[in-house]
C-alpha cells in the first residue's frame, strides 16, 4: 500500500487519505497531485518521481509512462496492441468509436493540417543542390556515418519479448510535401527510403499512405543508446514539469537562399545539437517544405504519423516521442546521459530545440509552479515545520553575532598629532591639581556677629562688676522662697540636716549662690550638716561650698563635729532608694574615709526620716524628681527643700504646688537667692551677681530684638527682590 508522507508532521499516511491522520493537514494539493509519497525519491514538492498507478489524478500519458516502468511480469500480463509489438501486419484496425478517446486539440489541428495542406517535404533534388560546405553537421553525419554503418532493422533491433517499443526506436518519417524525383534524391536519402518500408507499413491510416510524400526511415544506430539516455533524462525532467500538450507555437522551415533555415527555435535546436553525435537519429519527424521560398508553419510538436492513429487510447495525451520511452530504457541509458552531459550539455539545462517541442500548456501546468531552475531550497529539519521548504529562519542572518573586526594595535600618529596629544595630556593632568590662588582673609559676617555677641555680653557684665554699680533692684521674694526661709528658721540648733549637692560644676555660679545663702542661714542657726551627692564630683563641690561659706560668711564649721561629707551615693535612683531606707548601709564612712556614724549627732540617725530636714541643691530636674520620688515618701512629713537652677523650675514647681506639698520650699536661681539674702539681710554672692546678671539679660534682649529686626528687614528685602525678578 502506498503511503503519503505528511508535509507538516512527516508521518506516513495511506495514499487514499486527503488529510493527515495525525495533524489533519492536507496531503494532496488542490491540483490533484500528491505532494509527497513515502516511496518518492524526489525532494521536490509536487514532482512525483515514481509512478503511482493508483493515483487517478495523474494524466493518462504519465500513467502510461509509469505503467511502462512496472516490472516485466506486470507488463507482460497486459496485452499490448499489435502495432506496438509489430505483429499487427501492415496496418492497424480502425478502432471502435466507443474506444476512441478524446483527441487533443493539437493533434486534431495536426490532422487537419495534414489533410489540407501538406507540409513541405524535402525534395531530393533540392537536397542534392545544397552545397556541401553549407550542409549542417547532422546532414554531414548522415551522409558519412549512417551510410557506412547502416542501422539494423527496426524489427530486428527490438527484442521479441519487449512488449512496448520505445519512441526512440520508432522510425522517424520525413514527409515531403511534394514528390521528389528519384534522381534528385541524394544517395543517403535513397538508402534511407529503401529502408522505410517498415515505416510505411506501420502507417495506420490509409489516408496517410496516399499522401505523396517520401518517408525517410532512420534506423537506430549505435549512438541510439546515448540519445535515448539524454532523452530519458529530459523525460524525467519534463515529466515533472508538464505533460506534453499541443503548442501553438509554429516551427518554420525556411529554404531560402538554397539553404535550410529554421526559425530561431529550430536554429537553436541545431546549434544545440552541433556537439552531439546523434546523427539524424531523433525521435521526431520533420516536414520540410521543398519549396525554397515557402515558409510552412508546422504545428508543434511534430508528431509521428503513429500518433494520428486513433486506436492509441493509452497515448492519446502523450506525445509520441515521450510516450514510448520506458523507464527501463531510461535507466539503461543513464550512463550515456552523464557522458553526454559531461561533454556539452549541462545536467539541468534543457536544449532549446527540445523546449520548443514542449507544449506551452505543459509548461504552464499548475503543478509545475515551482521552477526547477530555482536554487535548491533547504528543508526544515526539526520542529513542527519539519519537512517544509523555504521556511523562514527563526533567527535572521542580521541578528547573528559577529566577531568584531580587530583594530590594529599600532596607531599611526603623525608628529602634529603627537604634539596635540601632549598638550591635551598636559591639560588633563593639570585639571586635578589645585590651582594656586591668593588666600583671602575674609571674616564671614556670621563669625563677626558671634564675636560681637560675646564681646557685648562680656563688656556689659565686666563693666558692671568693675564699676561695682548696683543698678538692679532686688526683686520681691517669691512665696516658695519665703516658705523655705520659714522652714529653715524653724530648725533648732544642733538638728541634723541632710544636704544633697547634686549640681554640675558648670552651674556652680548660679547654684553656689543659692546654696551659700542656705548654708549661711543654717550655720547661723547652728544646725549640724550632713552632705551627700549623687554626683562623682560632689564631695569636692561640698568641700568647696563649705570652705567658701566659712570664708565669706565668717563661720567656723568643722568636719565631723558640725558637718559630715558622707560622699557619693552610687546607683542613681536605686542608690537614693537604698539610702532613703538604709542610710547606714549605703554610706558607711565619710568621703575621706572616716567613720561618720560614730559622731554624736549622727549616732541617732538610722533612717532618712531621722534628719530634721532634707535640702536638695540641684540643677537637674531628673535629680530633683528622683529625690522627690525615692526619698520624700520616707521623710515622714519632714520638710524637703530645694535650691534649684532657674532652668529646673518648671519641672520642680509642680512638686511644690501639689497638696500636700512634696517640696516644702524652693529657692530658684539667682533671683531667688538674691531675694533670700535680701530677706535675711545677709547679702552675699547672689546680690553681688544680680546687677551684672541683669545687665547681661538686657544686652541679650537688645541683641535679640535688634538682630531679629535686622534679619526680618533683610529677609523682606530679599523677598521683594525675588518678587520683582519673578514679576
Amino acid at each position: 500500500m502506498a503511503e503519503i508522507r505528511c508535509p507538516m508532521c512527516g508521518k506516513p499516511n495511506p495514499s487514499e487519505r486527503d488529510t493527515c491522520l495525525y495533524c489533519q493537514a492536507r496531503l494532496k494539493s488542490l491540483t490533484g497531485s500528491s505532494f509527497m509519497s513515502s516511496d518518492s525519491s524526489s525532494s521536490s514538492i509536487g514532482i512525483p518521481s515514481q509512478p503511482d498507478t493508483g493515483d487517478s489524478s495523474l494524466p493518462d500519458w504519465l500513467k502510461a509512462i509509469r505503467n511502462s516502468d512496472q516490472t516485466p511480469e506486470e507488463s507482460e500480463s497486459e496485452p499490448l496492441p499489435a502495432w506496438i509489438t509489430g505483429e499487427g501486419g501492415e496496418g492497424f484496425d480502425e478502432p471502435d468509436d466507443t474506444e476512441k478517446i478524446e483527441v487533443p486539440d493539437w493533434l486534431a489541428n495536426l490532422r487537419q493540417e495534414g489533410e489540407k495542406v501538406h507540409t513541405s517535404a524535402l525534395s531530393e533534388d533540392k537536397l542534392n543542390k545544397l552545397p556541401i560546405d553549407d550542409e549542417p553537421e547532422w546532414l554531414k553525419k548522415i551522409r558519412t556515418g549512417q551510410h557506412e554503418e547502416p542501422s539494423p532493422d527496426f524489427k530486428q533491433v527490438l527484442p521479441p519479448e519487449k512488449p512496448f517499443p520505445a519512441v526512440s526506436e520508432r522510425p522517424i518519417v520525413f514527409q515531403a510535401k511534394e514528390e521528389i524525383p528519384s534522381s534528385e534524391v541524394p544517395d543517403w536519402v535513397a538508402e534511407l527510403s529503401g529502408k522505410s518500408a517498415v515505416s510505411s507499413e506501420l502507417l495506420p491510416d490509409e489516408q496517410e499512405k496516399d499522401i505523396p510524400m517520401e518517408e525517410v526511415h532512420f534506423e537506430p544506430k549505435e549512438e541510439e543508446g546515448s540519445l535515448l539516455a539524454w532523452l530519458s533524462t529530459l523525460e524525467q525532467e519534463k515529466t515533472a514539469q508538464a505533460a506534453p500538450t499541443q503548442s501553438e507555437k509554429p516551427i518554420t522551415v525556411d529554404r531560402g537562399k538554397e539553404e535550410v533555415s529554421f526559425s530561431s527555435e529550430v536554429s537553436g535546436l541545431f546549434s544545440d545539437l552541433e556537439g552531439i553525435d546523434f546523427g539524424i537519429d531523433t525521435k521526431e519527424s520533420f516536414e520540410i517544405a521543398k519549396d525554397e521560398k515557402r515558409t510552412t508553419e508546422i504545428p508543434q510538436p511534430l508528431t509521428s504519423p503513429f500518433t494520428s492513429v486513433e486506436g492509441l487510447d493509452e497515448f492519446a495525451e502523450l506525445p509520441e516521442w515521450l510516450g514510448g520511452i520506458s523507464s527501463e530504457e531510461t535507466i539503461a541509458h543513464e550512463k550515456d546521459i552523464s557522458s553526454i552531459a559531461d561533454q556539452d550539455l549541462a545536467p539541468a539545462t534543457l536544449p532549446n530545440w527540445l523546449e520548443a517541442f514542449i507544449p506551452a500548456e505543459a509548461i504552464e501546468k499548475p503543478s509545475t509552479k515551482i521552477p526547477l531552475t530555482e536554487a535548491p531550497r533547504k528543508a526544515e529539519g526539526a520542529g513542527p515545520l519539519a519537512g517544509l521548504f523555504s521556511v523562514l529562519p527563526a533567527e535572521p542572518e542580521i541578528a547573528k553575532s559577529r566577531k568584531p573586526s580587530e583594530k590594529p594595535d599600532v596607531l599611526e600618529v603623525s608628529e602634529k598629532h603627537r604634539q596635540q596629544t601632549s598638550v591635551f595630556e598636559a591639560l588633563l593632568s593639570s585639571e586635578g591639581l589645585p590651582g594656586v590662588t591668593a588666600e583671602r582673609q575674609i571674616v564671614a559676617p556670621q563669625n563677626v556677629f558671634r564675636i560681637l555677641v560675646f564681646l557685648l555680653l562680656c563688656a556689659g557684665v565686666l563693666g558692671v562688676i568693675i564699676a561695682g554699680y548696683q543698678f538692679a533692684v532686688i526683686p520681691t521674694p517669691p512665696v516658695e522662697t519665703l516658705d523655705a526661709i520659714n522652714i529653715l528658721n524653724s530648725l533648732p540648733a544642733g538638728a541634723p540636716v541632710l544636704i544633697a549637692v547634686d549640681y554640675q560644676p558648670g552651674y556652680s555660679g548660679e547654684m553656689e549662690a543659692a546654696a551659700s545663702i542656705i548654708l549661711d542661714h543654717l550655720m547661723v542657726n547652728g544646725v549640724n550638716l550632713a552632705f551627700v551627692s549623687t554626683n562623682p564630683t560632689g564631695p569636692a563641690q561640698i568641700e568647696r561650698l563649705i570652705s567658701r561659706v566659712n570664708q565669706e560668711r565668717g563661720h567656723q564649721y568643722k568636719a565631723l563635729e558640725q558637718y559630715v561629707i558622707m560622699g557619693y551615693i552610687p546607683g542613681g535612683t536605686t542608690g537614693l532608694s537604698g539610702f532613703g531606707t538604709q542610710p547606714r548601709r549605703i554610706i558607711t564612712q565619710s568621703a575621706d574615709g572616716k567613720p561618720i556614724w560614730r559622731t554624736p549627732w549622727l549616732s541617732n540617725i538610722n533612717n532618712i526620716s531621722d534628719f530634721s530636714s532634707v535640702i536638695i541643691a540641684t540643677d537637674d530636674p531628673d535629680n530633683a524628681r528622683a529625690w522627690v520620688e525615692q526619698v520624700q515618701p520616707l521623710l515622714q512629713n519632714k520638710p524637703l527643700l530645694m535650691a534649684i537652677s532657674a532652668q529646673a523650675e518648671p519641672m520642680v514647681r509642680p512638686y511644690y504646688e501639689t497638696n500636700p506639698r512634696q517640696v516644702s520650699g524652693l529657692v530658684v536661681g539667682l533671683m531667688g537667692s538674691a531675694a533670700y539674702e535680701q530677706i535675711i539681710n545677709r547679702p552675699g554672692a547672689a546680690i553681688k551677681y544680680w546687677s551684672p546678671f541683669n545687665a547681661a539679660i538686657m544686652i541679650a534682649m537688645l541683641m535679640i530684638v535688634l538682630g531679629s529686626c535686622y534679619m526680618m528687614v533683610m529677609m523682606l528685602r530679599t523677598q521683594r527682590k525675588e518678587n520683582r525678578r519673578e514679576g
Binding site: 556670621q446 556677629f449 558671634r450 555677641v453 555680653l457 538692679a472 533692684v473 532686688i474 526683686p475 520681691t476 517669691p478 554640675q504 560644676p505 558648670g506 552651674y507 556652680s508 562623682p536 564631695p539 569636692a540 563641690q541 561640698i542 568641700e543 568647696r544 570652705s547 561629707i565 560622699g567 551615693i569 552610687p570 546607683g571 536605686t574 542608690g575 537604698g578 539610702f579 531606707t581 538604709q582 548601709r585 549605703i586 568621703a591 575621706d592 574615709g593 530636674p621 524628681r625 523650675e649 518648671p650 519641672m651 514647681r653 509642680p654 504646688e657 533671683m671 541683669n694 539679660i697 538686657m698 534682649m701 535679640i704 538682630g707 531679629s708 534679619m711 526680618m712 533683610m714 529677609m715
Partner: protein, 211 residues
C-alpha cells in the same frame, strides 16, 4: 521548642527581684522589707562596681587605640593621663583633700562654667538668626516668649515693666502655667513609661540583661 538555660535563669532572677521589691512597697511584711533592702543594697554595690568596670573599659579602649596608633591617639593619651592622675590624687589625698580640691577649683569648674557661658552667647546668636530662614508662627512665639521671660527677670533701678515683671506679670504666668503644664505632662509621661518598662521587665518581655 528550644530552651536556653542561661536565659531562663537570668530572667527568673530579674523577675523575682522586681516582684519582691514591688510587693514590698504595697505590702508591709517584715521579711519582704528585709529582702527588698538586701536587693537594693546589692544594686548600689553593683552600680559602684559597674562604674569601676566602666573606668577599666574606657582605659582598655584608649590603650588599644594608642597601641594601634590610630587617629586621635594623642587625645587618648591625654585622657588616660588625666584619668590616672586624678584617680591617683583622689585615692591618695581623698576626694576632699587639698589636691583634689585644687583639681576641682582650677580645672573642672572653670572648664564647665566656660562651656555654659559660651552656651549663653550661642543661644543669643541663634535666636537672632532665627528669622533669617523666614518668619514663621513658631519662630515668632519662641522669640517673643524668650523676650518676655527675660524681661520679667530684670529690674532696672527698681523699675519693673508693668504687666510683664512681678509675681503677677506675664513672665510669671508663662513660667507657672504653660511651663508647669508642659512639665507635668512630661512627668506623667515619664511615670507611665517607667511603669510600662518595669512591667515589661517583670514579665520578662523586656530583657535589658541580654538573657
Amino acid at each position: 521548642m528550644k530552651f536556653n538555660l542561661k536565659s531562663i535563669i537570668s530572667a527568673s532572677i530579674a523577675i523575682a527581684a522586681g516582684v519582691i521589691v514591688l510587693i514590698g512597697y504595697f505590702i508591709n511584711l517584715p521579711y519582704l522589707d528585709t529582702l527588698r533592702e538586701v536587693f537594693l543594697h546589692w544594686a548600689v554595690i553593683l552600680s559602684a562596681v559597674a562604674l569601676v568596670m566602666g573606668i577599666f573599659n574606657l582605659s582598655y579602649v584608649h590603650i588599644r587605640k594608642i597601641a594601634a596608633q590610630s587617629t586621635g591617639d594623642v587625645y587618648s593619651g591625654i585622657l588616660l593621663i588625666s584619668l590616672f592622675l586624678s584617680a591617683a590624687i583622689v585615692i591618695i589625698f581623698s576626694p576632699t583633700g587639698g589636691f583634689s580640691q585644687w583639681l576641682y577649683n582650677y580645672i573642672i569648674l572653670p572648664v564647665e562654667a566656660s562651656l555654659l557661658a559660651l552656651l549663653a552667647a550661642i543661644l543669643i546668636y541663634f535666636c537672632v538668626r532665627l528669622f533669617k530662614r523666614g518668619i514663621t508662627l513658631f519662630s515668632l512665639i519662641f522669640v517673643c516668649t524668650a523676650l518676655i521671660v527675660l524681661a520679667s527677670m530684670i529690674s532696672l533701678t527698681g523699675f519693673q515693666i508693668p504687666g510683664i515683671s512681678g509675681a503677677d506679670g506675664i513672665g510669671a504666668l508663662i513660667v507657672r502655667i504653660p511651663s508647669v503644664g508642659g512639665a507635668r505632662g512630661i512627668l506623667i509621661g515619664v511615670a507611665l513609661g517607667t511603669i510600662a518598662t518595669g512591667l515589661r521587665v517583670i514579665m520578662g518581655a523586656d530583657r535589658p540583661y541580654n538573657g
